[in-house]
């Protein structure tokens, strides 16, 4: 029998169906959905990561220090994304679904351009990708990113630099579909 699921003892019955904390989390869902999708390779993976993150945020609410729920949730998402990425890297076939037309959304932009960008992003390590996304998409300051990821600001800068250079390089010669991340 799995006893692990509700190990945090945060009984659902203790809280009414919805409270302030849950409303705050709900308000963050759009931002979290976007960030989740920034970290993974496909829409279903993004929704899956979002679901994992919300679940974790709710079950860990007792550990939240009461300031900046958004940054805290983003940190949790970053760690979940990293854990997940390691799994995908070990089992690269899971990553192939990006090419199967699973995109549920109707995006206006050129699908070819989109998949080109996606492929370039998928070549980044999850650490570099997270930093790039937190800075560029989410607009966090370097110092915030350092705190969220518990790394020195110098590391933030070097990851950002690697991400930008690698992305530029990959967009330049977009002739390789990498299925396996090179060592």
């Amino acid at each position: 029998m799995s006893q692990s699921r509700n190990g945090d003892g945060e009984g659902a019955g203790e809280h009414p169906a919805s409270d302030r904390f849950e409303e705050d989390v709900l308000a963050l869902v759009p931002a979290l959905r976007r960030y989740a999708r920034c970290l993974v390779r496909s829409d279903p993976d993004g929704e899956d990561l979002l679901q994992d993150c919300v679940e974790k945020v709710l079950s860990r609410r007792a550990q939240w220090r009461g300031v900046n729920l958004r940054a805290w949730a983003f940190t949790i998402m970053t760690n979940l994304g990293r854990n997940r990425h390691r799994y995908v890297t070990m089992h690269p076939q899971v990553a192939l679904d990006e090419d199967l037309g699973l995109q549920a959304e109707d995006h206006e932009s050129d699908p070819l351009e989109r998949s080109r960008l996606e492929r370039a992003l998928n070549g980044l390590s999850t650490e570099n990708r997270s930093v790039l996304m937190l800075v560029v998409i989410e607009g966090y300051r370097y110092q915030d990113v350092a705190e969220m990821m518990a790394i020195p600001i110098g590391t933030v800068m070097s990851r950002l630099s690697r991400a930008r250079r690698q992305l530029a390089e990959a967009m330049k010669d977009d002739n390789v579909i990498s299925m396996r991340r090179p060592k």
Partner: protein
């Protein structure tokens, strides 16, 4: 140095692209870029990237009708799985199917992926005995740290049972290290094969979800080693062998933190040995 024009660092260029500079600094960088076309081109690329990335992901920052259900999905009401562990949600099923299809297509085209056609289950496979302790510890970490709901077989709320059960399987009295002084709490543990014999794994997690594993396995040659470190792809393992048992502490955390964890585990294992003998 003329007006600091020579002192534009790469960090300055990023800060410039990310709008993190005041007007005077911006002007200084702009002037410098005029003299440095290669860097100016790079900056132009970075800005174009940023625009493209924002456009690419903008559509995802939306609310869905089902969002409130995410709040309720916490724990029991979430559909629980069947034997296929990956298929814990519709997305998981879709992904598994998609992966299978993709493999089929890729395999058909190139023959390259034929050996991996069989869907890999998330259950850990018995690891070849030849694999060393740190390799096995890293495999276990990589597989189980990514599990959200099935990271462990027995949760932290049943610690006494966990210690007794795994101690019995390991044929070695066992106490579970308490790492709360380092900010990590026990998630739980599971049985898994180490060197082809029953071994034990404990998983810990900090407040932000960073995970660590502590692996114990039988060591039949009964020797001892000092602390050693093995690092593969950013996953660090401290390991040591102490008579009949080999220990490995694995995580993707800064090395000095992991060392503190290893020290703490070593100290606590030693202490419990001492009180038992």
């Amino acid at each position: 140095m003329t007006e600091g024009h020579n002192t534009v660092s790469e960090d300055d260029l990023h800060a410039y692209v990310d709008g993190a500079l005041g007007p005077r600094e911006r002007l200084r960088i702009e002037q410098w870029l005029e003299q440095n076309p290669a860097q100016a081109e790079e900056v132009r690329q970075w800005r174009a990237q940023a625009v493209e990335l924002r456009a690419h992901f903008a559509g995802y920052a939306r609310s869905d009708a089902g969002d409130r259900a995410l709040l309720l999905a916490n724990g029991s009401e979430r559909p629980q799985q069947n034997p296929a562990k990956d298929a814990r949600s519709f997305a998981g099923i879709a992904r598994a199917v998609a992966a299978g299809l993709a493999l089929f297509v890729a395999g058909g085209l190139t023959g390259l992926y034929a050996p991996t056609l069989l869907p890999t289950d998330r259950e850990i496979q018995p690891i070849a005995a030849a694999d060393s302790l740190p390799r096995q510890a890293q495999s276990a970490f990589l597989v189980y740290a990514s599990e959200v709901r099935h990271a462990v077989e027995v949760g932290a709320d049943d610690q006494t049972h966990l210690a007794t059960w795994l101690g019995k399987r390991l044929d070695h009295p066992l106490s579970i290290p308490d790492l709360s002084s380092l900010g990590f709490s026990l998630v739980g543990g599971r049985l898994l094969p180490v060197n082809g014999r029953a071994g034990a794994m404990f998983m810990y997690e900090d407040g932000t979800g960073r995970r660590l594993t502590v692996l114990l396995g039988r060591n039949d040659d009964n020797r001892e080693t000092s602390f050693r470190i093995d690092s593969t792809d950013g996953v660090e393992t401290f390991y040591w062998i102490d008579g009949p048992i080999g220990y490995a502490v694995t995580g993707e955390v800064p090395r000095d933190l992991l060392q503190q964890v290893a020290d703490e585990c070593y100290r606590q294992f030693e202490k419990s040995e001492a009180t038992k003998s």
